[in-house]
């Protein structure tokens, strides 16, 4: 029986016009489905999930909501429309026409960037695959699955680039993307944060808030790329990424909301009493925040990086909002402050800007992440709870870069090894914290019911009610 893959792989890249590429993707598609069945959301293959499916890149193509069985989700290939006359906007090639084909000399660097980005997509699906079994509501289950299928689509987006522009190497990389496994000792995912576990829903919300926001910043810098197909692909992926951050921000906000409600009912800030009432105490939320924030800091890479300089100089990866920066977009003589530890203190020193581009992106990210934490604090203020969450210092708990050799408190104080050992459980979730949070995770699947530890959302998805049947079990 012949399968119409034009229908099976929705796309706006004229896939049927390029038979070689079409065959390559046809070959990869069943492997992807196998991967999804093995490593996608656990025990969910037969559910009807109320999902948003991108059916086109224009704004109208976004409003398409319907019940879908996840293995039948139409993973498609979508690039933002080409911008006529687009130029390379930074680096040594600034002012040249943007590349429609891979420049030979940058081939391996470009492939590396795409593979690194692509690897995070299936990784997060793997990290989150058991969460459906402990969802706090149908609404949250649906959001989890929406995030999962869109991570799957982002993998498709990267695989399309590998297949379309990198020949045999690209096809091999595309297969390897399905072979690595998050947390696997022998064949792990490329980046550290993507080998951490996402064991509970608080971790999931923190992950979608902090780590998916790293995704936003990486995609924004890649969307500036002089390699036009990559730029257009990432631009479209960003539209989907927004929903993931929404899930994280509103998820953590609802946890805070519920905790505040219980604290006000019981008129207590005693952690033991709050935990006994079945909600997550604020200090534990702060520790989760510290952990996810610091793990995500590492995703931006070393503070001083010659790779970052090369990627920029060769026009492959720009800065966040590159074209809105008011400078020469070449940065050859400019400097940028980075942090280092000297004489028991953190001090700022100037590094060549090109080498400090990871740090620059990290700083852009921190500003954005901190603004959201302030929005969580508004919930606390509204509820009259005298507690404020805060982002730890960006040098806290680092595992990558020069700062990783020092122990630094969330407030930015350099500590001795002994001080760190003594205090770190106040700052990072302990095994006991995780066991407690895990103990709250029971599955709630009745429409309109929400687990005790989380408040219902202010509004449903696509204007549906909060008690809408977002997932149907068959």
């Amino acid at each position: 029986m012949s399968i119409d893959y034009n229908q099976k792989i929705p796309n706006n890249v004229d896939l049927s016009e390029n038979k070689t590429l079409q065959r390559a993707l046809e070959h990869w598609q069943p492997e992807f489905i196998n991967w999804w069945q093995d490593m996608g959301p656990d025990d969910s293959q037969n559910f009807d999930v109320y999902l948003r499916t991108a059916v086109s890149v224009d704004p109208g193509g976004w409003a398409h909501f319907d019940y879908v069985k996840m293995p039948d989700y139409r993973w498609g290939i979508f690039l933002n429309p080409a911008e006529p006359g687009r130029k390379v906007n930074f680096g040594a090639h600034k002012g040249e026409a943007a590349w429609q084909e891979v420049p030979g000399e940058y081939r391996s660097n470009l492939r590396r960037l795409i593979v690194t980005q692509g690897d995070t997509e299936p990784a997060s699906v793997e990290q989150q695959r058991h969460l459906g079994l402990t969802c706090p509501s149908l609404y949250d289950m649906r959001n989890l699955f929406q995030v999962n299928v869109e991570e799957g689509r982002h993998l498709w987006a990267m695989v399309y680039l590998l297949h379309a522009y990198f020949g045999r190497d690209g096809r091999e990389e595309a297969e390897a993307l399905l072979e690595r496994r998050s947390g696997d000792a022998d064949n792990p995912r490329i980046l550290g944060a993507f080998n951490e576990q996402t064991p509970d829903w608080l971790a999931f919300f923190m992950f979608t808030y902090f780590t998916d926001r790293d995704g936003k910043y990486q995609l924004c810098s890649l969307a500036e790329s002089g390699f036009d197909p990559l730029a257009r692909t990432c631009k479209f992926m960003l539209t989907e990424e927004a929903h993931h951050m929404f899930v994280g921000e509103s998820g953590v906000g609802r946890v805070i909301q519920r905790t505040c409600e219980v604290m006000n009912q019981l008129k207590t800030d005693d952690v033991a009493k709050i935990r006994a009432a079945g909600v997550i105490d604020l200090p534990t939320i702060q520790r989760y925040l510290n952990f996810h924030f610091s793990v995500t800091m590492d995703l931006f890479g070393a503070d001083v990086s010659s790779n970052a300089a090369t990627f920029y100089n060769t026009g492959l990866k720009g800065r966040y909002e590159e074209t809105k920066q008011d400078d020469d977009h070449q940065l050859s003589d400019a400097t940028y402050p980075i942090l280092e530890v000297a004489n028991g203190q953190i001090i700022a020193t100037q590094a060549p800007y090109l080498n400090a581009l990871n740090e620059r992106l990290r700083d852009d990210y921190v500003r954005d992440a901190v603004a959201g934490i302030e929005r969580w604090n508004k919930i606390l203020q509204k509820q009259g709870i005298p507690f404020a969450l805060s982002a730890p210092h960006k040098a806290f708990n680092r595992k990558i870069g020069p700062l990783s050799s020092s122990k630094i408190s969330p407030a930015g104080k350099v500590l001795s090894e002994a001080e760190w050992t003594h205090h770190h459980l106040q700052w990072l979730p302990s095994a006991e914290d995780r066991v407690f949070v895990a103990s709250l995770m029971g599955r709630v699947t009745q429409p309109g019911k929400y687990a005790n530890w989380i408040a219902p959302p202010a509004r449903g998805i696509n204007n549906q009610a909060v008690d809408f049947e977002y997932v149907r079990f068959n």
Partner: protein
């Protein structure tokens, strides 16, 4: 610019696009999507430049939170500046139309068309004239488009609501207003000007239809509204008569254009305060305002905040009950729905008043609540039966309906529109 002219003055009202800073998560999607770079941000807020926004709505559907979908009517020369928006923690409330300063305005309000006055008087006679609106009703815009200067709407959908074999043809008609500003509230009506001339060579009378969609439109984010229209084929006495406006509307095709006047109605409006209950009684196309109010509550529904909804809805058979399918799918906790059918073969005839009696306790409890608002819309014939049923159940529960009714009326909590 979505603009309109108010009354006889020349002040332009802008429907300004704004982003709710409380809900926005700063994902940047809108800024990225905007084709005219009207959206920008600082470290605090995302904001829309009123002088650039072209109302293309491209940013609306990609927004993951709905923060982008906020609109305020303002004087075009008093639009919120970017500098103001950047400082907001919350969106400002809508300034009531009456409070929007109009420099050089003619003080005499434009008068309503005679037809509209006549119909309004007839349809509210059941309650003794036009009652005050609920205290928490939003401020309605009235009479923005006159017979001399009607708005031009385009039909974007026309669907039959009743089964093909049902004896009545009731339709759901969606009108799109393009760039014209025609803000309506649930319970308001608009007038339709059927084309052509009557037998006396005069233009047809204005026909009024209750809007069936909530204030943000049938399809939110698009400048549209819906009507529930029954094709009139007989007059009150049962003689064969083809209703001019209803047949004109029912025969419209997608893309056809219609002249619209209005909106009208300052009384039959819904309360907006938390905890306010809606007790709705209707027959046939009288369901239009009830659908609008229900849909408004459903879309805005914040649990724990909103009050109870109770609906009594009568039709001949399920096949003739407009919106039967969607209605039956609404969650029970959201709305208590009671459907009465008077012509189901081999079943006793049941009317809305029968169900009111059957649900006496729940109805009386609602009537005792000072946050309950009562709406009656449909055929004139139902008024008497409903009145008797209320009288009955009240006396059985130690209430005096006549004095309660007077109190309700005076407090803007009792609204009748019958024809």
């Amino acid at each position: 610019m979505a603009a309109t002219t108010v009354g006889t003055s020349q002040v332009t009202i802008l429907r300004q696009h704004l982003i709710d800073p409380e809900i926005c998560i700063r994902c940047n999607t809108c800024e990225e999507t905007c084709p005219v770079n009207a959206i920008s941000h600082d470290s605090r807020n995302y904001v829309v430049d009123a002088s650039k926004c072209g109302f293309c709505y491209a940013c609306i559907s990609p927004c993951p939170t709905g923060a982008i979908d906020n609109w305020r009517h303002v004087r075009a020369d008093h639009a919120y500046a970017l500098a103001d928006q950047l400082l907001w923690d919350t969106l400002p409330a809508q300034i009531a139309m009456a409070e929007i300063p109009i420099v050089g305005a003619d003080d005499t309000a434009a008068t309503l068309p005679d037809d509209v006055e006549r119909i309004a008087a007839a349809s509210t006679s059941g309650q003794g004239g036009i009652a005050p609106p609920p205290w928490s009703a939003a401020h309605p815009y009235v009479n923005l488009y006159s017979i001399q200067k009607p708005a031009l709407a385009t039909v974007s959908g026309n669907f039959r609501l009743t089964a093909e074999d049902a004896s009545s043809d009731i339709r759901h008609i969606v009108l799109d207003f393009g760039n014209a500003s025609l803000p309506v509230l649930e319970g308001q009506t608009i007038g339709i000007l059927a084309p052509g001339l009557d037998a006396h060579g005069r233009p047809h009378h204005v026909r009024l239809y209750s809007v069936a969609s909530p204030r943000d439109g049938e399809r939110p984010r698009y400048n549209n509204l819906s009507l529930t229209v029954k094709r009139v084929t007989t007059d009150h006495e049962g003689a064969q008569v083809l209703g001019v406006a209803s047949n004109f509307l029912c025969d419209l095709k997608k893309g056809d254009q219609v002249h619209v006047v209005g909106p009208y109605g300052t009384s039959f409006l819904m309360p907006n305060h938390p905890g306010s209950n809606l007790l709705m009684i209707c027959t046939g196309t009288g369901s239009a305002p009830m659908r609008a109010m229900t849909e408004r509550r459903r879309r805005k529904s914040a649990p724990k905040e909103d009050g109870k909804l109770m609906l009594f809805f009568g039709a001949r058979t399920p096949a003739e009950l407009p919106y039967f399918g969607p209605l039956t799918r609404l969650p029970k906790e959201f709305i208590d729905i009671n459907l009465a059918f008077s012509r189901v073969p081999e079943q006793p005839r049941q009317y809305v008043q029968d169900l009111i009696r059957a649900k006496a306790e729940a109805v009386v409890n609602l009537l005792r609540d000072e946050n309950t608002y009562l709406y009656l819309c449909g055929l004139k014939g139902m008024e008497k039966g409903v009145d008797e049923a209320f009288s009955d159940i009240c006396s059985r529960h130690g209430l005096d309906w006549k004095s309660l009714q007077a109190e309700l009326l005076q407090q803007g909590r009792y609204h009748v529109e019958t024809y």
